[in-house]
Amino acid sequence: MSAAGLIGTRLRVRRGGSVRWRRVGLGALGLLLLALLWEGYKAIGPATGVVVGDLTVLPRTTDIAMPHVWDIATRLTEPVNTRSDALPVWQAVLEAAAFSLGVAAVGWLVGVTIGLLLALLMQRFRTAESAVLPWVVLSQTVPLIAIAPLVRRWGATIQFGDFEWQGWMSVAVIAAYLAFFPVSIGALRGLGSPDANHVDLFRSYAIGWWATLWRLRLPASVPFLLPALRLAAANAVIGAVVAEVSIGLRGGIGRMIIEYAQSGSGDPAKTWAPILGAVVLGLVAAGLVALLGLALTRFRRGEVAA
């Protein structure tokens, strides 16, 4: 604990401009290495791929299966199709990614809220923990493909006043379904993380459960909550992308991956554009949660044991 605290302090002190640039440099180097690996394998690998028995271990290296990196990059700047008003591919991909990010963000928010509420319920009432926790765990074993049509069908029956269930809401619900799990587990651990010592101290102050929650349990749960929120963001993105496909929602990156893949044989470089878009989507989602972590730095200090 003390060693970790010390390293943490040093990192905070040293996290100057030069370190940040070195990180950016390392990130770029990683991308470059990936591109080199791609092109290297494409250059020396057999055109039919590496096959062991009947199993293809490494992909075919034809231009259809693995277009050149520069072809993929060039294709990004060209129009989507031959129509005169067609957007460049990169713009279409970014728009689709932004749409999916929006849906995933709604799912994330709903999931985080539900996860936190479940964790609070389980923390407050011991019996709730034994009653709810198994169901929380069980919920994640249901395959996404199975629940997506169900959610859409149930959603379609919801209608009151001017409100009408939209397709994107079904996608957000599925994203939330995947996002709440790590939050509820992480928050439950975090809320229970204060020492008996701290709990006794707050009890000696004769204040209620809510004040203890706000001043002790929630701040103490931040180190547990941040990784959970990051996992939830990744899950929400995956959930949104997959749910778009299974529900058939237009406008998002998931649907775009399927659409562009259909033109794969004629326009192989285009297939990779929305996949790159999905990667960017994941990175942005992770980055947003990292920003949240920066805002909560104060609560991530480790206490050196006395």
């Binding site: 020492d195 701290h198 006794d200 001043r215 002790l216 050196v304 044991a305 006395a306």
Partner: protein, 279 residues
């Protein structure tokens, strides 16, 4: 301990702590464990009383009963004439544990202000009170530091300042110096004697160090284990102005020997005289 500048008025004749005929039985999976048996103890206002004994003698349990962190199975615990529960609601005591238990996300000042903040004391008043206490425990240069930047001794001083924040008339301390090295420990003891002199608070102090108990206390309560009982109470009272020179004093050594003899009765529990414990 005259002149009580920072604590409230103490009603004449009402003891700070009165423990009467207390038993504490814990129900464990292995069966009922008697942690305390027929314990009686009275602590006068402004008095420093140490509880000493081997592990398992129930000294921490007794402290927790006084703090209303646990309830006695039978018997009564009263603090300043109220039930322990009411005393906790009224914030009549401050408490410090073996682990400093500071909140790592709060600065030294914010940690000391925690109880004040939780009880709705205004910002200005909090600030002046914490400045006072920071000076009292000698951490003026560290007011804005965080717990992970402090040594163990400094953290413990913050914890003591926090316990004193609401000017309690009673301080409950559960081996607060147990995790400190010997040098820091002696310095902290000297400081605690000074702080208690300045605030006039009564103290119930759990320890397993004989010299510590003798150095600090007006009375030392010697406890024996299985079941936890008070074996004897020894009046020490080395005087109000206790400094480091006292550690070389013959009265100090006499006190240490006396407590040690009382404790060593434990070595042969089967052979111990029942008469010793009839308190």
């Amino acid at each position: 301990m005259s002149g009580i500048p920072t604590t409230g008025p103490v009603p004449i004749g009402v003891p700070a702590v009165a423990v009467a005929a207390v038993d504490k039985v814990f129900d464990t999976k292995a069966g009922a464990v008697t942690a305390l048996q027929s314990v009686d103890l009275t602590v006068a206002p402004g008095e420093f009383v140490s509880l000493i004994g081997p592990s398992g003698c129930g000294k921490s349990t007794l402290l927790r009963l006084i703090a209303d962190l646990d309830q006695p199975t039978t018997g009564t615990v009263s603090v300043f004439g109220k039930t322990a529960h009411q005393a906790r609601i009224d914030q009549d005591y401050g408490i410090a544990f073996q682990q400093a238990g500071l909140l790592p996300w709060r600065s030294v000042r914010a940690n000391i202000e925690l109880p004040l903040e939780l009880h709705g004391v205004g910002k200005a008043e909090r600030g002046s009170r914490s400045s006072e206490l920071i000076e009292l425990v000698g951490l003026t240069d560290f007011a804005d530091s965080y717990p992970d930047q402090l040594s163990g001794g400094m953290q413990q001083r913050v914890a003591i300042a926090r316990a004193l924040a609401e000017s309690p008339r009673l301080l409950l301390m559960d081996e607060p110096f147990g995790a400190l090295d010997e040098m820091t420990r002696e310095r902290m003891q000297t400081e605690l004697v000074r702080i208690c002199g300045e605030t006039g608070a009564a103290v119930v102090f759990v320890t397993h160090s004989i010299p510590e108990a003798v150095f600090l206390s007006n009375r030392v309560v010697v406890m024996s284990p299985r079941p936890g009982r008070i074996r004897d109470v020894l009046a020490v009272d080395l005087g109000g102005a206790r400094g480091d020179e006292l550690r070389e004093d013959e009265h100090f050594f006499a006190g240490v020997s006396a407590v040690r003899e009382l404790l060593h009765g434990d070595a042969a529990p089967g052979a111990r005289a029942r008469g010793v414990e009839n308190r």
